[in-house]
């Protein structure tokens, strides 16, 4: 007797909970963004608020999605036919999204000239179309302290004259020898995210002269990912851990801040914190030239329009708003990200010529290389992650790299070379 009202209300609640997702209507524009740091999140909120204020007939509903499962989320939503109109895409994922039919070209909605100013790393191109565009790029650098380098008498490298491999290894040895740090370098290997490993460590491989895939036709990794240069990279990478230069897993990403390491290999988004802590003592340096020039990863999160969007014109309006110089500059200032146009950079205090963080802008322009532009990127990224991690943990580098090559080539073969098939496949 006493149970039934509970049961009843449970059922009512259950039913009521069914309809929680609003459907698209003309006045609403749904938007998904990946989860970011608080500053970038806040900047995005304001960007959307400004757009909403300028477009009374349109309202943007923004949702934040965890970064780790973002591709799965998009895939799930696409399967359910519930992709939002506008969404952010990590630039290397653009080809996969295009291939799967999730997003549509931007250049048939927006005049190509609008993108003329945007740096190449800020454009998501595939098959001759522009599918996505970003306000900013990110860059990895070596962060350390002036005082630390002075202690061991090391040269301060510049963008034009980066450390050589011998210099870098020697420096690590000297830092280790001081005994001040159990390990001198935080490489960022604690992050268990394949895309991070690709972003952070495949440029090191490229600097050795190897690559993730033969960029010609993007059809095989054979001889590139497991060639002699790649094997050299593997031996070097492993040596960092064997020699006690880096920990395989820091407990958090604040090792440099807390003085547990002397140098950290990390991104420009860490600059605000570190600058606050170290002030003028902070040094932001280019990664070492490991034989074939400095390479850093290019391409960050970009905006795209889903192919199921029912109001593409309005979505295009939003995209155009996003890439206005003042918006790019605002975002760059607020989130500390590298603006994707020169004009916007000049509008910021940090990234303009002579600014504190100009080094990132220069690094990005000078050394950034895009990740392979192929729908096979996820497979490549996963295979690379496994191989690099195993090498770090001491497996036979040649075998691990061969395994990665086999896996990548197998996947490309399984998917018919990822040839683009007819679009508009129903769910």
């Amino acid at each position: 007797m006493r149970r039934s009202p509970i049961m009843f209300s449970a059922m009512v609640l259950l039913t009521a909970s069914c309809g929680e997702k609003p459907v698209d209507t003309r006045a609403n524009l749904h938007l998904w963004q990946h989860q970011t740091g608080p500053e970038e999140h806040e900047a995005n909120k304001q960007l959307i608020a400004r757009f909403n204020a300028g477009h009374p007939d349109l309202k943007i509903h923004a949702q934040t999605i965890p970064q780790g499962s973002y591709p799965q989320s998009v895939m799930a939503a696409a399967m359910a036919g519930r992709l939002p109109c506008v969404l952010t895409v990590d630039s290397p994922m653009v080809p996969a999204f295009v291939w799967a039919g999730h997003i549509r070209p931007l250049d048939d909605l927006i005049d190509r000239n609008a993108f003329a100013e945007i740096a190449p790393a800020g454009l998501g191109r595939y098959n001759g179309h522009i599918y996505a565009v970003g306000q900013f790029d990110a860059a990895l650098a070596i962060f350390t302290r002036r005082s630390t380098l002075a202690q061991v008498g090391a040269r301060i490298p510049t963008v034009q004259h980066p450390w050589t491999r011998e210099e870098f290894d020697g420096l690590l040895g000297k830092l280790k020898a001081t005994g001040r740090w159990q390990v001198p370098l935080d490489l960022g290997t604690r992050e268990p995210n394949p895309n991070w490993w690709t972003y952070a460590y495949s440029p090191l491989l490229q600097s050795f002269g190897g690559d993730l895939i033969d960029r010609g036709a993007n059809q095989t990794a054979q001889g590139v990912l497991n060639g002699p240069a790649a094997q050299q990279w593997a031996v070097w990478f492993r040596s960092l851990f064997v020699n006690g230069f880096a920990r395989r897993q820091e407990p958090d990403d604040q090792s440099l801040l807390h003085g547990r390491v002397a140098m950290a290999y990390t991104g420009n988004w860490r600059a605000p914190d570190l600058e606050k802590a170290f002030g003028k003592d902070l040094l932001i340096l280019p990664p070492p030239d490991l034989g074939h020039g400095v390479v850093i990863g290019g391409g960050s999160w970009q905006w795209a329009i889903s192919s199921t969007c029912k109001s593409p014109k309005e979505a295009a309006n939003f995209i155009q708003h996003v890439i206005r110089t003042d918006e790019i500059a605002d975002m760059a200032s607020a989130a500390g990200m590298i603006p994707s146009t020169e004009a916007a950079a000049e509008r910021t205090s940090r990234f303009r010529r002579g600014g504190d963080w100009r080094v990132f802008f220069d690094l990005s322009r000078a050394y950034a290389q895009q990740r392979p532009s192929t729908p096979a990127f996820t497979t490549i990224s996963n295979a690379w992650y496994r191989a690099a991690r195993d090498i770090m943990d001491g497996t036979n580098p040649r075998d691990s790299l061969d395994d990665a090559v086999d896996e990548i080539d197998q996947s490309i073969q399984d998917n018919g070379g990822f040839a683009t098939v007819a679009k508009g496949k129903s769910r």
Binding site: Q72, M75, A78, A96, P251, D393
Partner: protein
Amino acid sequence: MRPQWANRGALAFLFGTPAMLGLIGFLVVPFLMAIGLTLTNQKLLSPQDTRIVGLSNYERLLGLTMIRQDSVLGVNGDTGFERVRDVTRRTPRLHGYKPLGQAEFGSTRLVLLARDPIFIQSLLNTILFAVMVVPLQCSLALALALLVNAGLPGQRLFRTVYFSPVVMSMVVVAVIWAFLFNRDLGLINQFLSWATFGKFQPVDWLGNPATAMPAIVIMSAWQGAGLQMLIFLAGLQAIPKELYDAARIDGATAFQRFLHVTLPGLSRTIAFVIIITTIAAFGLFTQVDVMTQGGPANATSTVMFYAIERGVRGQDIAYGSTITVVYFVLIATLALLQQRFFARRAGS
């Protein structure tokens, strides 16, 4: 035979339908779907049409073969063996096979090849985990139950304390323990170093292939022992006190009483606990996912972890389903064998 009115077919159907619909809809159907998917090349996030590929997923997963190699003269005069991968790439029959293990006999060697050595390793890891965690967790649980049952003041509090990890989310527990296991900062190394006056060399528990699985075993036993402790407690309290009194009168020592009264009295409970612990052990996933992601060097990759890794994260649904179907066959066989074994033991 119950009277006619008590044959409640229709009513039982009515009462059972909601539950059966749920079980069939969200357990049986997906499982049958999984079996169906194993025969296809279904991928996530692919615009290409799905094809029936027969048993090739199973072949890819379970393919094993053996080759014999004779030693060859190396470039600088020493004898050695040709690299296995060079052989497999050259030989169409061996295409896709990778070395799993090898044994040398003088100038020949035998190499065991697998299509998917990581799966084989994951399977072995899973068995290794079960072999380590089941005895540890069960004996820990039994020890805790005996302690709680020793009649000391405050035993209820102890019972609660020992049980409390069970109610914690495995995610929370794993996050905390990942911290405790850290090489330079983790409390476990700090403690061992303190207890041995600094002689102890810090171990990278989760970063060393030799210690990663034992570390997960320790954490899992710690997390789960409380539940089995409760079951053992129940078993202990079901043993008639007269048996202990009789054993005392016969002059049995505490250890003899444990051996001849407690253990036989618990035999059914022990069998039950071992079966449920083994089944749970074979499903190992969350700890690995949070703490090690299968590493280092696949030392903690388990069948379930590998299935999710390939099926969801690698977007190869068909292959992931194949792994889970193989897993199910394995676990069902195991459960059946254990039940048989213990049933026969109990019967004799």
